[in-house]
């Protein structure tokens, strides 16, 4: 791991502990030997109030590459997560997490998790990442909402 990556991640952690949005959590994982792995984080994204996603805390992992902050981290939900813009593997398809699109080195952890929370209730049907959720979202809204509510129950706080 480069020192730049490490230093920046330490700072991200400091800033997160000082101040982070309500309802979220984020912490670096532990390595086998018990030490902190700053390049792999676990975080929880609460569904926004008055949306069908409300009432649950959705778990994600954030993986920082060695080239961070030149390159964006990879954000993953559990595999098979039901959402039009999340790949079957769980990887999130979001422009601010794409190096060729809107990723900027200045984007912070806070901005990332807020971006992911935003994505939950405002999916982008123009860049589908999985078929079932996308098809339901664009063709059969009631089926879509049913599945999302079911999933919310699964991850209920």
């Amino acid at each position: 791991m480069s020192s730049l990556c490490l230093q920046r991640l330490q700072e991200e952690r400091k800033k997160w502990r000082k101040d982070h949005p309500f309802g979220f959590f984020a912490k670096p994982t532990k390595k086998v030997d018990g030490s902190m792995n700053l390049q792999l984080w676990e975080a929880g994204i609460p569904g926004k109030e008055s949306t069908i996603w409300h009432g649950a805390l959705y778990p994600i992992t954030i993986e920082y590459p060695d080239e961070y902050p030149s390159k964006p981290p990879k954000v993953k939900f559990p595999a098979g997560f039901y959402h039009p813009n999340i790949y079957p593997s769980g990887t999130v398809c979001l422009s601010i997490l794409n190096e060729d699109q809107d990723w900027r080195p200045a984007i912070t952890l806070k901005q990332i998790v807020l971006g992911v929370q935003d994505l939950l209730d405002t999916p982008n049907p123009n860049s589908p990442a999985q078929e079932p959720a996308w098809r339901a979202f664009s063709k059969n809204k009631s089926e879509y909402e049913k599945r999302v509510l079911l999933q919310a129950k699964q991850y209920a706080k």
């Binding site: 730049l4 230093q7 920046r8 080195p105």
Partner: protein
């Protein structure tokens, strides 16, 4: 002359083009006399063709065709006929190029012509007979292409009325397609400005139009500055754009370095405001960085326009071939001919399939052959091995140069590398071993299945193909000896450089002959073996093979004095190889055109 349908191509555009081509044979038989006069003016073509007429089939009509075709298609000729220079580009552009990219490329041509910087490398030795169009192409490097783009930027500058750096950004965003850019600029200018990052959301578009011509984007020295990227508190220089997002140059440099090879617009590290070339160079502290970025941008432009632009496939060669008129390409395919282009470093390759010069095979045959060899080469690995046992004493022999005439160093047995037979019959009669013989006479094989025979046949051709490929590689080594010889001629015999050139020329001819020979085996493999023309083709192969081998042997001579004495012999042999090669290529194309050779 004016009734000549070909003349119409120059001015009437493409719609009549295909029809005209189809009419050529008819027109020729009708207007033989005037067109012959026309053809006779072109002396170089004639001498070239007279050799061809001798060895191709003895059909007089065919020879006539050969004499007539080349002239109408030469670019000079087209230019002569064209009174108004731009007419062929503008008349029915929309019908010509439905694709936007093509329109753009067309315009590119136009501006190149306007600027008179054509570096056309047309190869005059292209087989012109049979209505094969002449090739029109440029060989460029990315830098030259970029320079041309800059000229175009200068051209549209008065229209857009913004700075050069800004236009370069716009061009990058629009893949150097100025048509699209100008169109969008007219429709949704403000949107573009934001999209490209010439102005940020917060600033509003009004600020963009040079309210502040001196951008506040220079380096600043700061003490104890905490950069929000690396979180290092230190004395450093920082950089910021109008958006006031300030970062240390260390971070900026790392960030830019990472992005240079993508060729995309590089933005501020926090928002979408674009860094211009000038900004990039300021941050990086040199002038190369923006050049690297432009280079990458041009590269991605070439990848996207791969119909008209192709990289030279040779290792480390930086040349780009820009094909002027992609409409011709389909014509090549129809005539079973391939558009071979030569780059500035004299690498010859096929513009359609990117392979080396593969005539007499066309692209389909080449493709089929290459695929087949790939599939079966694992099975035939033993064929590839470089060593062979002496047929007499079984000593392992590695062939590391020279022709196929082998002499075992242990038992002094002389044999042919390809067929393992004794050399004596090869030296006097024609080269027997280039012909595949069905092994009917061998009793032991009579029971073997059809598949087995097919494989045997393939193995045979594959082996010869490989032998020639190996030989070609060894010829390359021979080339180094030859250049040494040329040098020696100058040193020892006090000859001028030009007088030694016949050796280099011979080597070139040898290489070309070898390549043609090699690919002719792919053609032979896919040809109907029972057809008479195939037999003629094989005879032609044998003749060329014989010629190539003897030339190769001559070139191994090291003594400069003997070399000079043999100068005339070299001329004769080289000419002979050249002629045999043309004969073989013509014969091969005949096989393809008549459908006797088909990729299975």
């Amino acid at each position: 002359m004016k009734k000549d349908p070909i003349d119409a191509t120059g001015t009437n555009g493409s719609r009549s083009f295909n029809r005209d081509i189809a009419e050529i044979p008819l027109a020729n038989s009708d207007h033989t006399i005037p067109k012959n006069n026309n053809a006779l003016r072109n002396n170089s073509n004639q001498s070239n063709l007279s050799t061809l007429s001798g060895k191709s089939s003895n059909n007089p009509f065919r020879i006539k065709l050969e004499l007539q075709q080349p002239t109408p298609f030469t670019p000079d000729n087209l230019a002569e006929e064209q009174e108004e220079p731009d007419s062929d580009f503008e008349i029915d552009e929309d019908e010509l190029f439905s694709d936007d990219d093509d329109i753009f490329i067309n315009n590119l041509d136009q501006s190149f012509n306007d600027l008179n910087i054509s570096t056309s490398l047309n190869d005059n030795k292209i087989i012109n007979e049979g209505g094969v169009p002449n090739l029109k192409y440029d060989c460029l490097t990315t830098n030259e292409l970029y320079d041309r783009m800059l000229l175009r930027v200068e051209k549209i500058k008065p229209i857009l009325d913004i700075s050069k750096d800004d236009i370069i950004l716009l061009m990058q965003r629009y893949n150097w397609n100025e048509e699209k850019l100008l169109e969008s600029w007219a429709d949704q200018r403000e949107h573009i400005i934001e999209d490209v990052g010439l102005s940020s959301n917060n600033d509003g578009t009004n600020k963009f139009k040079n309210n502040n011509p001196f951008r506040d984007n220079s380096l600043q020295s700061r003490e104890n500055y905490l950069c929000p990227i690396c979180y290092e508190e230190k004395d450093c220089t920082t950089f910021k754009l109008e958006c006031n997002h300030e970062f240390c140059t260390d971070c900026y440099q790392r960030y830019i370095k990472n992005k240079l090879s993508d060729g995309n617009i590089i933005t501020c590290m926090s928002c979408s405001l674009a860094l211009k070339n000038n900004d990039i160079d300021i941050i990086m502290g040199n002038n190369d960085s923006s050049n690297i970025l432009m280079n990458s941008s041009i590269k991605s432009f070439i990848q996207k326009n791969n119909k008209a632009f192709k990289w030279c496939p040779y290792t480390d060669c930086q040349c780009i071939i820009h094909f002027k008129d992609t409409l011709y390409l389909s014509e090549f395919k129809r005539l079973h001919c391939s558009p071979f282009v030569t780059c500035k470093n004299s690498h010859k390759f096929c513009f359609s399939c990117g392979f080396e010069s593969h005539s007499p095979a066309d692209c389909d045959i080449t493709n089929a052959w290459v695929k087949k060899t790939r599939n079966e080469s694992d099975y035939l690995n033993w064929v590839l091995s470089n060593t062979k046992e002496c047929p007499k004493c079984n000593v392992n022999i590695e062939k590391n140069g020279g022709c196929n005439h082998m002499k075992c160093s242990s038992c002094k047995y002389e044999f042919c590398w390809i067929c393992d037979g004794p050399w004596a019959p090869h030296g006097t009669s024609y080269y027997e071993c280039t012909q595949y013989k069905n092994e009917k006479d061998k009793d032991k094989d009579s029971n073997s299945s059809n598949d087995d025979k097919k494989l045997k046949k393939f193995t045979f051709y594959y082996r010869i193909f490989n032998e020639h490929e190996m030989s070609a590689k060894l010829d390359w080594k021979l080339g180094q000896t030859v250049s040494q010889n040329v040098y020696q001629l100058q040193e020892k015999l006090g000859l001028s450089w030009i007088e030694g050139q016949f050796l280099t020329d011979s080597l070139k001819v040898l290489n070309e002959g070898r390549t043609a020979l090699k690919w002719s085996f792919a053609v032979a493999y896919y040809s109907d073996q029972s057809h008479n023309l195939t037999k003629i083709f094989m005879d032609n192969q044998a003749l060329l093979s014989h010629a190539v081998e003897s030339l190769s042997e001559m070139l191994t001579e090291k003594n400069p004095k003997i070399l000079m004495e043999k100068k005339n012999e070299f001329f004769n042999k080289t000419g002979y190889v050249e002629n045999r090669k043309h004969a073989l290529l013509e014969c091969g194309r005949d096989l393809l055109c008549k459908g006797i050779c088909k990729p299975k």
